[in-house]
Symmetry: C2
Subunit: 140 residues, 2 copies
Amino acid sequence: MDTNDCEILLKEHDIKPTANRNLVLKALDEAARPLSMLELEDEIETIDKSGIFRTLRLFVDHHLVHVIEDGSDAVRYELCHSSHDEIDDDQHAHFFCQVCHKTYCLGEISLPELAVPQGFTATSVNYLIKGVCPHCSKCD
Amino acid sequence: MDTNDCEILLKEHDIKPTANRNLVLKALDEAARPLSMLELEDEIETIDKSGIFRTLRLFVDHHLVHVIEDGSDAVRYELCHSSHDEIDDDQHAHFFCQVCHKTYCLGEISLPELAVPQGFTATSVNYLIKGVCPHCSKCD
DNA sequence: CTTTCGCTTGCAACTCGGTTGCAAAATGTT
DNA sequence: AACATTTTGCAACCGAGTTGCAAGCGAAAG
């Protein structure tokens, strides 16, 4: 994704493109996996922590990225692939490697529809598997 | 669960019973739902934050309670109902209410077995549903 | 072209859950 | 009783996230 693609995508989500926003978007796109704020911080040394934070919040508000919670006491952010501005329906499982602390997106696993008990209203579902990733299994 | 029951349960998990540990265990038992450290803190005003923390860590290490992560940037603890000292196989979904910020245990929903992709090794699964609980739905 | 207004940014300070060092208190052992 | 071990409370710390504020920047108005 070059700078021009970034700007187009940003505009599609009603976000005014800026240099920083292009950088964050590009970083998220190039990492094939969800990134934490910290990972973004040292991917893009030129932007302050608070800048990254505000950019991510903006992206989330505009349904450009969504938030996933692996158990790593650091929320991660991932580009939203569902059609823009719709409610985020990218429901898929994630895998957190307990060795390298990376989070993978298990797109191929579709989530079974679960019926919640009477009276509960579900708005989002989070399926997280923890374990060891292929790379860390090899070099144990 | 009276004090005596607590001590028996603690001993079954190779934990030396103390006054504080009985209190924490009783509080976890009486709350029918998973509690955060903060919730325990103001349930039991007599114990310091650090004491609760260390007690919980001890309980987790001895498979007496297990940890669940709702998305509420505060981990929650719940009594483990699987047979003692086994690997924690209390796999069940939880429900986090976005209004009252309480977490419910959806015991009745059984988790579908998911096959992880080639090369990944799964050690634990976390299924979290967010939405609005029956009580908060009523008083909206 | 310059002024003005509003958005964006970096810095520093702060919040809050969780964690640890340490000394005092409690408990257990000889 | 004297000593060793464990548990506890306090205060200080940590790290991710968050916010206030002033400076920077760019677009619109004069």
